[in-house]
């Protein structure tokens, strides 16, 4: 093959190629992880549906009187198990309470349990996971073993035990503590894995080389870049906590019957399941729709923040 001559080909000069090396090419709009995620979310109809549900539930929880003039505590046995009528679109419970009004006023309990659980989970889980991963060595061994102990106890079982023991002090905060106090270990694990990855990136080393202290670097650079899975987990956990409260109340060890909550209403309506199924159906629907909205929101945020998930669409 040595006798074959190799022709020297030179492409015609394309003026488009003659651009300056490494020219700065800025888009018209700013772009960053969060801005891009927001743009992605704004394009998805499901996001609006979930947000509207969350907003409606939150408004109902804060200002129930915007939605109804009725007193949810006023029972009239004359209307026991009555069907829908004018001004009472969802009918009545066995005690003659208005179902619609009970759902509106119950939102506040369910949502505050969810929010408290998230706050408690975050308050314990974030420092435990972040400190363990970031400082490593014995700090990691100690904090992770503590986490493992809590992880080994099914949080719902633990909550059942706590609520049974504290039967005299059943209120929203205690129930949130019972759930959140045992549910944080998963969050700590998720965050620990994330921080382990982020802490080896060069910008963390760069921050220390500049003179920022280790702890300050953790707060300023490592945590903000590890929060994506935390936000997703907490959004979903909020929904799960609402379910947990309803389940505990349903079992009779959650909130006392005097507190209005979807779980209590479901528990009371089960006795009339055959005769008045709708009194059970409506609070269950409210619960399901709310929990679903939070879970969908969590998953949408995960998709929006994860460029890999975005590419696969």
């Amino acid at each position: 093959m040595s006798d074959r001559t190799v022709e020297h080909y030179v492409a015609p000069i394309d003026p488009a190629d003659a651009i300056e090396v490494d020219r700065v090419n800025l888009g018209d709009r700013k772009s960053s992880l969060w801005i891009d995620a927001w743009r992605d979310l704004r394009r998805r109809p499901l996001f609006y549906i979930a947000v509207v549900i969350v907003l409606v539930v939150t408004t109902a929880a804060l200002f129930p009187s915007l939605f109804t003039d009725l007193d949810p505590r006023k029972g009239d046995l004359a209307f026991s198990n009555a069907g829908p009528s004018d001004g009472h679109p969802l009918g009545f419970t066995r005690q003659g309470y208005d179902v619609y009004a009970r759902i509106i006023f119950g939102a506040s309990t369910s949502l505050s349990v969810g929010v408290f659980v998230v706050l408690i989970t975050a308050a314990i889980g974030i420092p435990m996971g972040a400190l363990a991963a970031y400082y490593g060595r014995w700090v990691d061994s100690l904090l992770s073993r503590i986490g493992d102990i809590f992880f080994a106890i099914p949080y719902f079982l633990a909550a059942v035990v706590v609520m049974s023991v504290l039967s005299a002090h059943r209120n929203v905060f205690v129930i949130a503590l019972a759930i959140g106090g045992f549910a944080w270990a998963s969050l700590a694990r998720i965050l620990r894995a994330e921080v382990l990855q982020v802490k080896n990136l060069e910008y963390v080393m760069a921050s220390e080389a500049v003179g920022r202290s280790k702890f300050s670097t953790l707060v300023r650079h490592v945590l903000p870049n590890s929060l994506t899975p935390v936000i997703v987990y907490l959004t979903i956990a909020l929904g799960a906590a609402i379910t947990a409260e309803a389940t505990l109340s349903f079992l009779g060890i959650g909130l006392p019957p005097s507190v209005m909550s979807w779980g209590n209403d479901i528990a009371q309506a089960q006795t009339t399941l055959r005769t008045a199924p709708m009194a059970l159906f409506w609070p269950s629907l409210a619960l399901t729709v709310t929990v679903l909205a939070f879970i969908i929101l969590g998953e949408l945020i995960r998709d929006a923040l994860d460029p890999k998930a975005r590419a696969s669409r």
């Binding site: 030179v10 492409a11 490494d22 700065v24 080389a209 500049v210």
Partner: protein, 583 residues
């Protein structure tokens, strides 16, 4: 060897072929990727021939379409990519029309493929032997347990693995990078293909290992008369190994022809630019462009260079010492078993001085301890013993508060432009961070300083409000340099700061560093594995091997007359060392 199974569509190796007929003809190949933001044409009308037994290299920067072209040849494009035009003729038959099943007989048997990254291309849960046997069975070169086993051993031995029978039982993590690459080459050549595509086969390896692997690959393909298509970003490597060179840029071929012809008489402006930017042994130290060491035509002005040289020697002799490292050691204990541990001397008593305003290159292969040395010198990790002195203040064994103050005098630029900037902070906040941490100036003063710094690294000041994800690797590295300069340090440690960049961008950044050095009187500690780059940036060189400095000297001395065999081996292994590039 004999072949029991013959494949329908593809002729077997035994057929005698006319070597004047091309083995592979690529005609007007177009490859398009479907992405969220529209279709991207990665390859735009590429044509070339590969003759039997010939070595062809495709050279280009990242994004030039060179790897896409290679994967298109065996139709293993990523899921969102497809061949949207042109033909690929193998022995005159168009394989773009082939079904997956027909392709399976082309892959391995006719066209073998050695992937880029030896670290991720072997499955860690299966033994080496299993993976080689699997490939052999899939290619149908042998059947039956014993024959497959024998063939696997033969393949690995030919790939240069000694003691192959025993090593087959081992797993990928027990193999070094070079050994893994040998296994992949063995698998690629296992079915005796007539063309082997090697996509950056040695980019992840040390230069000395790279040379051994490429030498071996060359002798294997020569003996079997296998054609070789080499995909690389390294012009020197391409010129040294291939008879024919194809230069790609933005999905098109800009120039093709005989390797030496192209390197010495490039015609296309892009090729010329690329060759001029490629650091090679023949290159000279880059100087500040303000100093005008280049004449108007862009060629080095020899007279000015000689003056510069004398000046550097004078500076090395007279300038005060900016950084002094004295007998620095770092010993880690490596766990062996539950209760035993062994010491590992990562840095084993290194000493050197850097004179103010000069550049010392600390060179070594992976595992030489150069990165650990960098961390020790930066005070990111305490040394086991020894001292680092900045100016005349010791940096080791001082209180945290003194260390904090000393950090103002020494800053760092890291290797990976994609990992060294916090993605959630704006460029302005990133550059201002050192000022904020050290409480320098008020808000307005910092904003002004950020603008000044952006200007110094030739970036538009509008960038201050943008985020790193909008920038290219080279631009991010400029931001990292601006951050390092924010506190007006005396010393900047450049830890593989240009290793991840394409050659044109790399040349640009090196020029920027030289300009800044002249302008601000900076002292650089340049840590790198790349000797060719050392040639163009350093005044003095220290060569590290296994935690020790084996040789130090002025750059010209080391390159002209290395005393240590290890240094000489490193120098000899630089691809294209003996080739004179056009200037």
């Amino acid at each position: 060897m004999s072949k029991e199974t013959t494949v329908e569509t593809t002729p077997t190796n035994e057929t005698v072929r006319d070597s004047s007929m091309p083995l592979v003809q690529v005609q007007d190949l177009e490859v398009t990727f479907v992405t969220g933001s529209g279709d991207v044409q990665a390859v735009r009308g590429v044509s070339f021939d590969i003759y039997p037994g010939e070595t062809v290299a495709i050279v280009g920067e990242s994004g030039s379409g060179k790897s896409t072209t290679a994967t298109a040849l065996i139709k293993l494009l990523a899921g969102n990519g497809s061949i949207t035009g042109g033909k690929i003729l193998v022995d005159g038959e168009d394989i773009t029309e082939y079904s997956e099943r027909q392709m399976a007989s082309v892959r391995g048997g006719v066209i073998g493929y050695v992937p880029q990254d030896p670290m991720s291309n072997l499955n860690p849960v299966w033994s080496i032997g299993f993976q080689v046997r699997e490939a052999i069975r899939a290619n149908g070169v042998a059947s039956g347990r014993h024959e497959v086993e024998a063939k696997a051993i033969e393949v690995l031995e030919q790939a240069g693995l000694s003691d192959a029978a025993r090593r087959m039982k081992q797993f990928p993590h027990q193999f070094s990078g070079g050994m893994r690459q040998r296994v992949l080459i063995g698998i690629g050549l296992g079915a005796e293909p007539r063309l082997l595509i090697a996509d950056e086969p040695t980019s992840a390896l040390d230069v000395t290992v790279q040379k051994v692997i490429l030498d071996h690959l060359e002798s294997l393909t020569r003996d079997r008369k296998t054609a070789l298509l080499l995909i690389t970003h390294d012009l020197g490597l391409a010129a040294e190994r291939a008879s024919k060179l194809i230069v790609m840029h933005r999905g098109k071929i800009v120039e093709a022809g005989a390797s030496l012809e192209i390197l010495q008489h490039p015609q296309h402006p892009y090729t010329r630019q690329l060759i001029a930017a490629a650091p090679s042994l023949a290159s000279r130290r880059i100087h500040s462009s303000a100093g005008d060491s280049l004449t108007d035509e862009g060629v080095p002005d020899m007279l000015r260079l000689a003056e510069r040289h004398a000046e550097i020697e004078k500076r090395l002799a007279t300038a005060p010492i900016a950084v002094s490292v004295k007998d620095l050691r770092k010993t880690y204990s490596i766990r062996r078993g539950a209760f035993k541990s062994e010491p590992l001397h990562a840095v084993d008593g290194i000493s050197f001085d850097i004179h103010k305003g000069t550049t010392l290159a600390l060179v070594g292969e992976s595992g030489s301890g150069k990165s650990t040395a960098a961390r020790l010198i930066l005070g990111l990790e305490p040394p086991t013993s020894g001292a680092v002195v900045i100016g005349d203040t010791p940096m080791t064994g001082v209180s945290a508060r003194d260390l904090f103050k000393l950090r103002r005098q020494m800053q760092v630029v890291f290797q990976d432009p994609y990992a060294s900037l916090d993605p959630q902070r704006s460029i302005g906040a990133i550059i201002a961070e050192p000022l904020k941490v050290h409480k320098v100036g008020d808000h307005e003063a910092r904003v002004a300083r950020v603008e000044e710094l952006l200007d110094q690294v030739s970036l538009p000041t509008a960038l201050a409000h943008r985020y790193p994800n909008e920038l290219s690797g080279g631009q991010r590295q400029r931001v990292a340099i601006a951050r390092a300069l924010a506190l007006k340090p005396d010393v900047v440690v450049l830890d593989e700061a240009v290793s991840a960049l394409d050659v044109l961008v790399q040349a640009q950044i090196l020029q920027l560093l030289a300009d800044l050095q002249a302008e601000l009187g900076l002292t650089y500690l340049f840590i790198t594995h790349d000797l060719a780059v050392v040639r163009v940036v350093a005044d003095a060189v220290a060569v590290m091997e296994q935690g020790k400095i084996v040789e130090t000297g002025l750059t010209d001395e080391i390159f002209g007359n290395a005393q240590q065999p290890y240094t000489q081996r490193l120098l000899d292994a630089i691809p294209g060392a003996g080739i004179k590039f056009a200037s």
